[in-house]
Amino acid sequence: MRWLALTWLCGWLLAATVAAQDFVPTTAALPPAVAALEVAPGLHFSLTAAAVEIRDATGVRAMASTAPTGTVHALTMVPWGTVVAGGENGVFVADAQHPVLDRADVHDGAPAAGVISVAADRQGRVWWCTSTSFGVLDLRLRFGRAFAATDGLPPATFTRVAIGDDGRLLLATAAGTFRYEPDVGDAPRVRTAPASQSPLTAAANGDVTLAIEVQARGGATLRHRRRHHHLLLPIEGNTVRGLRPGWHVVEVHAVDRDLRRTIVGEYSIEVPLPRAFDPRALPLAFAACLLALFGCSYRWGGGGSVARRCALALLRTGVLAVVVLQLLAAVLGYGRSWPFVGFSMYTENWHQNDVLFRPRIVGLRSDGSRVPLHEDDLGVVQDGYWQMLAEVVYGAEHHRQALFAKVARQRRAGEAPFVGFVLADGRIRLTAHGPVDVAPTVLVTYRAP
């Protein structure tokens, strides 16, 4: 009996040790490398010795690119049809509607060069390796994460990544192949958070520090999103930076090393006005200036009744105040002081190779056809494009249902009904030869239940 218990204990310890290892040596064979992808019926992107070719009914031709790709080493396709190419100069994307390689829109955590292998999993994450580094990126989130030695990463040199038949990741190295199972254990969760969710007040510069600690596989990185905005911005040192004066609802997202994402906090944050615009002091100072102006503009000892002279002085004071404030606002440029406004709009400079972003909504019909829809027709534009659309990406299911209802109303008599939509961040690359539409960042693919 004692031997039996000891054997069970050893077995349990061995199993626990193996489970705790993130990268486990394996003898599993890697699936063959992707040589060609069918991105649409009759349309193939294929990898030749150094570049990508397009094959369709008209023949074979080299795929253009908006920037030098260097040697392209690998291709993969995420479930919604975006093709990712890894090569000498980093990660590039293309799709069936935009067959031109363009640098992927990933802000951090992606390799800048030397990519030798890429593999997309069922969730749409793209696993990548260079000869010395390994990581994962998510085009929808616009960021990725490189694994470190503390993540149990086997020693370089890496030669390939692939998704095995069982969905696990296979990493080939000079020392052999390793298996890695993403998404093991709990998703990121809060370890400690403030007891009260009462509104926070930011510093005058718009910075606010959050007392939150998160537990996640491989350690959490925190991002924040302002309600009605669609970008997840990094939080450094638990501090959200640069919020503008006013009230904001800020979501805090925790992301683990496999890019699993959890909303771990939602805060109401008040950002006070800069001291120069203190709503108590400034009106007083303004009133004092008006009084002084009134005194100066009054015709002391002039003709006419006191009432008439007062009226004229008031008029002069008002006119001068309006004129001076308009000029002051033009220089200071504080938009919230409307109707006294600044003029900093459209002063940002664009350059060659910059990318323009714009939401694209494509209706999916029951016959398989896709119809581009305009935001104005759908009534989803207020002051900006994402104000109404951001919640479709990050908000509750009813936001997607509401957008689908608007899409469904676009059906015309005799046409197949809509069964879903794709919401993407469209991208236009400015090149010397003119603007080029490149593969959008697909954010939501919705199909009505």
């Binding site: 009605h228 004066p245 503009s297 709009m345 400079n349 664009w350 060659q352 010397a432």
Partner: protein
Amino acid sequence: MTSEAPCSFWSWLDRCFLAPVPAARLGALRALVCGVALYDVWLYAGLVFADAKAVSTTGAERPWTPLFFMQVLGLDPVGLEVANLVFVVGTVALLLGLVGVLSRWSCAVGALAFFYWSGLAYSFGKPHHDKVALAFALMALPFANVGARVSVDAVLTAWWQRRRGYHVFPIAPVSGLPIWITQFTLAVGYCGAGSAKLLLGGVDWFNGYTLQGIMLGHDGAWSRTFASSVFWCQVQSLGVVFVQTAFPLVLLWPRSRWFFLPAAMGFHLMTWMTMDTGPYMRVWLLLFAFTPMEQIPATLHAGCRRGPLPAILTVVGVGAFVALVVGVANQVLPLWALLAGLLWLFGAWVRARPG
């Protein structure tokens, strides 16, 4: 008007902003400004009511970032009841201001409603430039005798004086404060926009990619056409910034209005087609503040009598302009109201017919 030295600062200010204008010109501006403000109040109604509905039911959905004047006055988001009240009061006051009933009072109430309405819309969103001049014009209206002509007030006053057997004197010029403030605001607006591009964007702003980026970022109907060439975008950049920066010349050299007014209007129509600014009608209609509006009927009559070609050009030009305004306004205002306005304009034109 004053006993101050004619070269003093205050006399100069009086000459710039309180100089008299024909009462008919000011009356026409009153009608125009109130009409445009009415269009604006209705244009923003959907947005304000949606926010007010959310406040009344589930709580505000959009972030409340109040305008400074809303913050100073302690004005908070409103529910549906208050929004309805402001909308009705604003609409009635601006309608009365348009036709000139209790002109100064209706303009004052209309201005207050307009500011509150805009404050609600902008505090839940982003302030825009397209009704800055309108706001100042409306704000200035009650401070001048805006009902002396082109108003029901004027008709009633003349009728009452005739009935009493008084001699009806021709109406003297009145202080043109609203006109001068509107002109100044428009000039600052254009010049500020152009100068900011020069000062903040620098020479690099004219690289062609910047204008290309601005146009394609909005994807208007003509964006692709006008943004396809970097070289042509450079040329357009120069043209845009020149018109904007040099616009204040219209104040110093009135003849330059023949160039700058059509250029500014053309600029707005182009941005309508190449960006998502919308028609920007609240700005380009106010460009009439630079014209002697009381002379428009006589000028049109003269154009019609000069021969068949000038007559055709006049009718086609006016017709196209009116169709444009009605077409834009009809997106928010009911057609019957616009037709009534047109009828009123036609009546004024016939009434002003010489001989």
